[in-house]
Amino acid sequence: MISALWVMIGISLLLGAVLGYSSIKFKVEGNPLVEKIDAVLPQTQCGQCGYPGCKPYAEAIAKGEIGINKCPPGGEEGIQKLADLLGVEFQPFGEGAAPKGKAVAFIDEQTCIGCTLCIQACPVDAIAGAAKQMHTIIASECTGCELCLPPCPVDCITMESIGENITNWKWRHPVIIPIKVAA
């Protein structure tokens, strides 16, 4: 009886020591979850989630402050990826938060007065120009976040949707009609 007790105590001490040691040895620096979430987010830095960029949103998700369905540019696939990553249920987009098609901003260079307000608003420095100089969008860098639209005093910026063309065209998932008759 006593010896059994000793054995049990011995085992628990040993296991406790192992756990304690491994918690020191394999200590994880920083919060890798934030990085992982940030990697899934589309990096438009658009702030539609209510946070000033993708990283802050990732941090908020990691803390559990906000749902995973606040990122329209990521699309439903983005939500699915976050759900898979975090092991939570898929949440559909709320009212009015549906994802839009891809677009890039376009500055009407006739109207632009060169006020630099949009340059300051752009989160990825995708607008080139200087004071009193006409501005222009570097289309390849533009994430389509629309943050440059509100500050423009003369409304010279429009979003041009990127249509399907021969370079970005994709093969569709084959549709097999009879098997999908499901009611």
């Binding site: 006020c115 970005n168 098997i179």
Partner: protein, 552 residues
């Protein structure tokens, strides 16, 4: 006798090649217009260098290559450029692309051109000529030939010339070999020189005995050394570059590996022919042999100008009225063309006029029963049924683990599938989804990097500003302390001295000869002074504007 090797799998679809080999290659009359796409090759689209309304000559460059991986595009005949705009092109997507539309003037007037002595010309010059002539692979891949001949990083042992032409219906290479074997071999000879290859192996499927005989005869006549014409067993897809290299040399070139790394390079027979015409005659790639077959009354091969509208070409072969679609290429890997208006491109080896009778629609697909008939025929030795399963479930990571990108989309799996599953379409779908994700990932990474850099910069600016402010404050404080320390009269004296200096300057700068001015002159001077003042004022205003507006 050389030993040939076998590749795994393969199928034997009915060949249907006899229909279009009964008559020699026919010349087509000048079409009413030419629709010449600027992107007929792998790589960047050529940039148009002609204007609408401009008259161009046959062989004149109308699109210049953009970047390294690109090729030139030429006017196939003389005429007037009527449009440079988006037109439907021969592509799976059925989407328009930039094309130059040319109205022929009927004169077929050549631009000044001439060949070079290939023996006397440097290799880099020859490659440059190929690029200028718009020579690309005519077997279907349309990869710029100048890049393929640049193999100085690797020692090339074998040059494989691909005359297998394994796809059913297509006979353009067959007819070319029968009629123009000499030029093909001369082109192959140049390619061998460019690559410093030891031997040339020409692989032709054994269902083309006439072509094999013609090529062998030409090898003997021209006394080509170390050049061998080999008859390979008829088996689809033996004409795939990797498969033919395997058959002829036993070497397996894995996906993502260049055959040159393994000492082999492969060119199509039509490419070899075009190389000869381009270098020895200075003729850019303006036309190619196209098989027109299927639901037509006179299936045959035509020498067709690039850009010839499809409708005008098929009419020559007597396309039958119940034709419901046009297929470019063969029935195994071909492209369903979006319209009859598309122009013939460098990649167009065959046009099959299709009717519901000729290619009946597939019965509805049933679930996969894992019968592995697809595995048995897959020349890439993949597990098509697994790939299908993962692609269907959008499990793209798994498709890559199962070597999706080794798939050459030959269609053998779908051909044998008893459940009629459109397997290749699933693989293409998965591939394009993966490519899109990679593009998105790259864009997101770029955006993240730029955003983080911007954050960093803003932070740095803020700090610098704060530091400057602190510095100024320190200076002001120091000055104030100094001012407090020095007696008042010093400052007074300083001000007086400054005033005196100013007076003295004013006296010096006072305009001379003003006493004898007429009233008119005085008025003029006054006006000038007023304008100056105004400009100074404006400049001052502008200076104020240079301050960045306060945001928020």
């Amino acid at each position: 006798m050389r030993t040939l090797f076998a590749f795994h799998g393969g199928v034997h679809p009915p060949t249907h090649k006899d229909e279009s080999t009964r008559t020699p290659i026919a010349q087509t009359p000048l079409p009413s217009k030419l629709v010449i796409p600027l992107s007929q090759h792998v790589g960047n689209r050529a940039v148009p260098i002609v204007q609408v309304g401009e008259r161009v000559l046959k062989g004149q460059k109308i699109g210049r290559p953009e970047g390294k991986l690109s090729s030139a595009v030429h006017a196939s005949t003389s005429g007037t450029v009527s449009a440079i705009d988006m037109q439907l092109v021969a592509h799976h997507s059925g989407l328009p692309d930039l094309c130059v539309t040319l109205i022929p003037d009927g004169k077929d007037e050549w631009i000044a051109h001439g060949g070079v002595d290939t023996k006397q010309t440097s290799h880099s010059e020859l490659r440059h000529l190929l690029r200028k002539a718009g020579v690309v692979g005519l077997g279907g891949a349309v990869f710029p030939s100048d890049l393929k001949t640049d193999a100085h990083h690797h020692k090339i042992k074998t040059l494989v010339i691909n005359g297998a032409e394994c796809e059913p219906y297509i006979t353009c290479d067959d007819m070319l070999m029968r009629e123009r074997a000499t030029d093909i071999l001369r082109g192959a000879g140049i390619l061998r020189e460019l690559l410093h290859a030891e031997e040339v192996l020409i692989g032709i499927e054994d269902n083309k005995p006439e072509a094999i005989a013609a090529m062998q005869l030409a090898v003997g006549q021209d006394k080509h050394d170390k050049m061998e014409v080999l008859s390979v067993p008829t088996m689809y897809p033996s004409g795939g570059a990797k498969q033919l290299i395997r058959i002829l040399t036993g070497i397996e070139v894995a996906a993502g590996v260049r055959s040159t790394e393994m000492g082999v390079q492969c060119f199509n027979v039509a490419t070899a022919y075009t190389v000869w015409r381009a270098l020895a005659h200075g003729e850019p790639l303006l036309s190619r042999i196209v098989t027109v077959t299927g639901n037509v009354s006179d299936a045959q091969n035509f020498d067709v100008l690039i850009g010839t509208p499809l409708d005008e070409l098929v009419a020559l072969a007597g396309s039958k009225p119940d034709t419901d679609r046009h297929i470019m290429g063969g029935p195994m890997m071909g492209v369903d063309l979006p319209a009859g208006t598309v122009g013939i491109t460098k990649a167009t080896n065959c046009i099959i006029e299709s009717s519901p009778k000729l290619f009946p629609p597939q019965p509805p697909a049933l679930p996969c029963i894992r019968c592995t008939r697809c595995t048995d025929v897959c020349p890439a030795e993949l597990q098509p049924q697994d790939l299908y399963w993962f692609a269907k479930a959008n499990n793209f990571g798994k498709t890559q683990e199962f070597h999706l990108f080794d798939c050459i989309e030959c269609g053998a799996c779908a051909y044998v599938c008893p459940s009629n599953i459109p397997l290749v379409q699933y693989y293409r779908y998965a591939k394009s989804e993966i490519h899109e994700r990679e593009r998105d990932k790259k864009a997101a990474d770029l955006a993240r990097e730029r955003h983080e850099y911007r954050q960093l910069r803003i932070e740095r600016d803020k700090q610098e500003k704060a530091e400057k402010l602190a510095q100024k404050e320190r200076e002001a404080a120091a000055k104030a302390a100094q001012a407090a320390a020095t007696p008042d009269d010093t400052q007074q004296r300083l001000i007086e001295e400054a005033l005196a200096r100013a007076k003295a300057q004013a006296a010096v700068a006072h305009p001379q000869n003003t006493e004898t001015l007429t009233p008119g002159q005085s008025a003029e001077i006054a006006a000038i002074e007023a304008r100056r003042a105004k400009i100074r004022e404006m400049a001052a205003d502008a200076g104020a504007d240079d301050e960045p507006p306060k945001s928020h």
